[in-house]
C-alpha cells in the first residue's frame, strides 16, 4: 500500500468536501476565527469556511462513514467548527425567543394570546425555521458520531493493533477524536474485564488471549477491504485542474482506469456513471473525492 499521501493532501486543500485538511496541519493552530462563519465570509487556512460548505462537507463525511467498511479519518477542524456553531446557534435562538435581540414591542404583546394572527406567525417564522434547521444539524452530528463509535467498537482490537504498530504514518489521534479515543480505551477495558472474568481466566494459559491470530481462526477482525460498495463517479474535484488520472476515450467520454487485483481485470469508470465495485479498487479515488459512496 502506498502510504505517501502528501500530494493527495495538497490537492485536498482546495476541496474541503473530501478528506479534512487537518491531516496536513496536525500540530499547527486551528486558524478559524470566531464569528467568521457568516455565509459569504472567508477564509481560514486557504479554504472558505461558510456554514453551507461545512454542512455539505459534513453530509459527505456522514454518508461516506456509513457506507465505508473502514473507519475514516476524523475531520477535526470541521467538527470543532460545527460543534461551536451548534452551541452559538442554540444561544442565539434562546435570545430571540426571549425577545432580547429583537424588540417586537406591543404588537407581540397584543398577539401573544392569538397564535393564529398573521404578523405573529410571520415574526416567529424565522424562529421556526431556525429551530428546524438546528435540529437537522444536530441529527447529522449525532448520527455521524454514533456511526463512528459503532465502528470503533467493531474494530476495537484492530485499532489497538494499529496503535502499537510504530510504522503507521497517521497516528490514532489523527484517525479518532479525543473523545473517541477515550471511548475506545474505556470500552475495551470494561469489555475485556467482562470476558476475562467470565471466560478467559478459566481457560488454559495458551488460550487466554483475546487477540490471538495464531489459531485456526484469526481473532482480530480487520475491515473487509474488498467488500462491494455502490459508487458514483463524480470526476475531477475542480474542473480547472488537469487530472492526470482522467483518461478520454475515442468517443470523448472521460473515465478512470482501475484494476481489480484479485481478478487481474481492468475496468473503465466513466464520469457520471454508477457502479458496484470492490471498495479497495476505488478507495484511493474516494479519498481524492473523484468517486463518491452512495
Amino acid at each position: 500500500m502506498n502510504i505517501d499521501i502528501d500530494d493527495i493532501l495538497a490537492d485536498l486543500d482546495r476541496d474541503t468536501t473530501a478528506v479534512d485538511q487537518t491531516l496536513t496541519s496536525q500540530g499547527q493552530n486551528d486558524t478559524t476565527v470566531f464569528g467568521s462563519d457568516v455565509p459569504g465570509s472567508d477564509k481560514a487556512g486557504g479554504a472558505a469556511v461558510s456554514p453551507v460548505r461545512d454542512f455539505e462537507a459534513l453530509m459527505t463525511h456522514w454518508r461516506n462513514e456509513r457506507l465505508s467498511p473502514e473507519l475514516l479519518p476524523y475531520p477535526h477542524a470541521l467538527m470543532a467548527r460545527m460543534l461551536r456553531r451548534v452551541q452559538e446557534q442554540l444561544e442565539h435562538i434562546e435570545c430571540i425567543s426571549m425577545g432580547y435581540l429583537e424588540t417586537l414591542g406591543e404588537e407581540d404583546n397584543d398577539a401573544a394570546g392569538d397564535s393564529g394572527s398573521n404578523s405573529n406567525v410571520l415574526n416567529k417564522l424565522p424562529l421556526l425555521c431556525m429551530e428546524a434547521d438546528l435540529e437537522r444539524l444536530k441529527f447529522v452530528l449525532r448520527s455521524y458520531v454514533r456511526c463512528r463509535l459503532a465502528k470503533v467498537d467493531k474494530y476495537s482490537l484492530y485499532l489497538r493493533q494499529l496503535a502499537q504498530d510504530n510504522e503507521r504514518m497517521v497516528p490514532l489521534s489523527g484517525l479518532l477524536s479525543r473523545q473517541e479515543l477515550e471511548y475506545h480505551e474505556r470500552h475495551s477495558a470494561i469489555l475485556l474485564k467482562l470476558l476475562n472474568n467470565t471466560i478467559l481466566r478459566h481457560m488454559p494459559p495458551e488460550l487466554q488471549a483475546v487477540d490471538d491470530n495464531e489459531g485456526s481462526v484469526k481473532m482480530v477482525e480487520e475491515p473487509e477491504w474488498d467488500r462491494f460498495v455502490f459508487v458514483y463517479v463524480r470526476g475531477p474535484s475542480s474542473p480547472r485542474d488537469p487530472d492526470p488520472a482522467l483518461e478520454v476515450g475515442p468517443d470523448g467520454q472521460c473515465f478512470y482506469n482501475v484494476m481489480i487485483q484479485g481478478l487481474r481485470e481492468e475496468v473503465e469508470l466513466t464520469v457520471g456513471g454508477i457502479y458496484v465495485m470492490r471498495y479497495n479498487v476505488v478507495r484511493e479515488l474516494i479519498m481524492e473525492g473523484k468517486v463518491e459512496l452512495i
Binding site: 460543534l83 425567543s97 437537522r136 452530528l141 474505556r186 470494561i190 469489555l191 467470565t198 485456526s216
Partner: protein, 207 residues
C-alpha cells in the same frame, strides 16, 4: 460429543441476538451459567487429554500420524469452545450496549436488571459491565458533544412543528412561544416536542 455444548450455547446466543434486534425489545434471555461452566469443564478435560497425548508422543518418539491427528483435533475442539463462549458473551454484551443507548442510563439498568419478581437475566459480571457502560455513555454525552444529545433520536427530524387539534379541555400550557389555552376543538401550531406527552395521553390530535 465434544462441541455439542458449544453448539447449544451458540444457539442461545442467536436467540439473544434476535431478541435484541427485534423492535421494541431490550430484554435478554437468562444467562446460561450451567452451560458455560460445563463448556469450561470440557475445555479443561480436553486440555488434560492434549497433555497426555503430547507426553505419549514424546515418549514413543516416532511419527504416529493418528496420534498427531488426535492431538490436533483436541486443540481444535478447545479453540472452538473458546470461540463459542466468547461469541455468546460478546453477543450479549452487544445487546446490552444497544439497550444502554436506547434507554438513557438508569432506565436501562433498572429495566434490564429486574423482572417482576426481582430476579435478573443478567449474570453478576454482566450487571457490572452494564453499569460501567452506562457511565461511559453519560461521560461521552458531556464535554464537546453536550449540545447534540448523543443518545437522542437517530430518526431524521421531520415536523419540528405540527398542527394539533384539542380533543378534550386541557387547561393552559406554557411554551416559549406563549401560553396556549387548550379548549376543545381549537387548533394550534406548536412544537412537537412540547406536546408529545399530551398527544400520547389523548388530549391533542396531530393533524
Amino acid at each position: 460429543m465434544y462441541g455439542d455444548l458449544g453448539s447449544k450455547l451458540v444457539l442461545e446466543a442467536k436467540r439473544a441476538q434476535q431478541l435484541s434486534q427485534s423492535s421494541g425489545s431490550d430484554q435478554l434471555p437468562l444467562y446460561q451459567d450451567d452451560l458455560v461452566r460445563n463448556i469450561l469443564r470440557e475445555i479443561a478435560h480436553l486440555k488434560k487429554n492434549a497433555e497426555i497425548l503430547k507426553s505419549q508422543q514424546e515418549l514413543e518418539n516416532f511419527d504416529n500420524k493418528v496420534a498427531k491427528c488426535q492431538y490436533f483435533v483436541t486443540l481444535l475442539c478447545m479453540e472452538r469452545n473458546k470461540r463459542c463462549l466468547l461469541a455468546y458473551q460478546k453477543l450479549r454484551s452487544d445487546a446490552l450496549d444497544a439497550a444502554a443507548w436506547n434507554r438513557n442510563g438508569l432506565d436501562a439498568m433498572s429495566s434490564l436488571n429486574t423482572a417482576k419478581d426481582g430476579s435478573t437475566n443478567l449474570s453478576h459480571h454482566e450487571q457490572e459491565y452494564l453499569k460501567d457502560y452506562v457511565q461511559l455513555i453519560t461521560d461521552m454525552k458531556s464535554g464537546d458533544y453536550t449540545d447534540i444529545d448523543l443518545s437522542g433520536s437517530l430518526t431524521p427530524p421531520s415536523d419540528v412543528f405540527i398542527d394539533v387539534r384539542v380533543l378534550k379541555d386541557a387547561g393552559e400550557i406554557q411554551t416559549e412561544y406563549g401560553v396556549f389555552n387548550l379548549i376543545k376543538d381549537s387548533q394550534f401550531f406548536v412544537r412537537q416536542a412540547d406536546v408529545e406527552r399530551l398527544i400520547q395521553q389523548g388530549y391533542l390530535q396531530k393533524l
